[in-house]
Each structure stands twice: as structure tokens, then as C-alpha cells.
Symmetry: C3
């Protein structure tokens, strides 16, 4: 079984790894840190869509997700964007906790595991 | 290979997902937030038992767990309840870190991956 | 399919679990807490090397990693040690967030999933 790796960043990490019918996505973070929580969440989910497509998967095949919020008070607004994005007939399981992220302006980070 | 999803909550997430011999449980949280860390941990583990049963698995088949504690000083008390619950002959690997959770009264959240 | 568990600790958890071509490592923490972030990161990565070897895997087969830093300001120093350790041709995906760990002197914890 092959391990397929997508989008290497320097000598540090890559964005997505395929192995044995599973696709693992590392913690995706917003590109535009000037946006509010809704904009940053949409930005992250857009990147997840692109990575899943690249790895031959799709949001309807997400199994499990981890959401880290810089401020738990943003949960409702994040959930609103998430709910409109996620496949209502194929809901993943999820854990959502608060954590300080790499940049103080960064409000949300999402990692997930999907089926191919 | 089919993806089987259990207990959808609104348009948001589900509690457990089966895929390819693995069972993924999202972050389970206590139902009764008036309890102390021991009561909340027992509550969460009871829910994990029920979800694993529903997905055709069992605590003796847990592979990996993530424990988030709202206050790391509760680690010993959580571990006491965990130790009495976990299958001593089939210990999972685990990561335990502190994180603020969805409700200020919520003291513990646990996610895990099990074999079927 | 067998579940193989390595290094049980009391009635609590084990260090690594093999199942169906995957190796799961729990959150590995430094042994020598007197060291700075670079020393602690090197210590954790050394333990990961040993566990992966025991489970018939290798750092070149890591799929996904979770890094928790007690202080996000240590990210650059942790990344320096990580970059020199990780297999540059086989980069895993990763999520890195801040979290208080089990001991106030503990600066880094790393969990990962690898292929066999």
C-alpha cells in the first residue's frame, strides 16, 4: 500500500496524506487573518474542499474532524458556517475545543480524516 | 466500503462513524454538568460504552483516545475513573491535554478510535 | 485482524497500538523536564523513533501528527528540531496548537499515526 503525500511545505509538513483508503488532512488554517470567525471558517473549509478533491475524496466522505477555536465564544458563529457547508446526509463526528493557535489573529484551525 | 454514521445531531455532526474496520467517536461530553470531575468522567465513559456497542465495538478494542480536561489539576481524579473503566488487558494509547470546553461547567471531553 | 499493544503503563494506557496496517502512538512527553524546548522536542522524537521501530514502522511512514506546545512562542524552536528529524521526502500532515500539559515544566507533547 502506497502513502501519497500532497503539498509539502519546506522540510516541515504536508497538507494531506492518503493511505489505505483514508485521507488525513493536517490542521488547516485561514489564509486571510483579517477576517472574522465566519470568514476564517469559510476560508478553512474552502481549503479542505480543495485538499479532499486533490486526494480523491469529498466532504461527504469526512469521517472525523477536530476543530480548534482560539475563543470558544466563536463556537456558534463557526457552527453556522460549518452547518451550511457540511453534507447534511453525511455528518462526520467532531471534537471542538479551545486552543491558542499559531498567530494571535488566527481564530480557527480544522483537521480531519476522510474516506477516499 | 460503506461509511456508517450514528446519532446525527441537527445539521452539525454525528456521534460515531464506522469505516473499514475502524470506529471513530467524536468528542463525548458529560450530560450532567452539575457533577464533579469523577461524575462527569463516568458519564462520558458510559456514553462511549453505548456508542461503541451501537457500532459493534467495545472498550476492549479502543486503539487511541484523546482526553481534554478543562483543568489539568483534575487529571488524577479523571485517571482514577478511567483506570477502573478501561480494559486492563487492552489498554489504548492516549493523549491528555488541557483545553477550555464548550461550557464553563464542562470539565472533560473524550474522543477515541476503536477497532470493530 | 489483531490489535497489538506496546508498553502498558499501569492500568492506564499504553504507548503504541498496531491495527490493520496502522500504528497509533499516544501523546509522547519528554523524560527530562529540566531541558529547554529544543531538548524536550529531541527527547520526544527519540521516543517516537523507538516506539515506531518496536511497532515495525519508521518516521518515513508517519501519516499524521499532533503537536501540543505549552507555549506557542516555542513553535519556531520546536519546528527547527522537528525539521532536522523528519524525513524530508516523506512529510506527514500535522496540527500544532497550544495546550497546558500534565506538568508545568513540560513544554511539548506529540502524538502520531504511522503506516506499518
Amino acid at each position: 500500500m502506497n502513502i501519497v503525500r500532497h503539498n509539502p511545505h519546506g522540510r516541515l509538513l504536508c497538507d494531506a496524506v492518503e493511505y489505505n483508503g483514508l485521507v488525513f488532512l493536517g490542521g488547516q488554517v485561514p489564509r486571510d487573518l483579517s477576517q472574522d470567525i465566519k470568514g476564517q471558517t469559510a476560508d478553512v473549509l474552502q481549503q479542505i474542499d480543495a485538499l479532499l478533491a486533490k486526494a480523491g475524496s469529498h466532504k461527504s466522505k469526512i469521517i472525523s474532524a477536530n476543530v480548534w477555536l482560539a475563543d470558544m465564544r466563536h463556537r456558534e458563529a463557526m457552527n453556522e458556517v460549518w452547518s451550511n457547508w457540511v453534507d447534511a446526509n453525511n455528518l462526520p463526528c467532531r471534537a471542538t475545543v479551545e486552543a491558542k493557535l499559531a498567530d494571535p489573529r488566527m481564530l480557527v484551525e480544522i483537521a480531519c480524516i476522510a474516506a477516499k
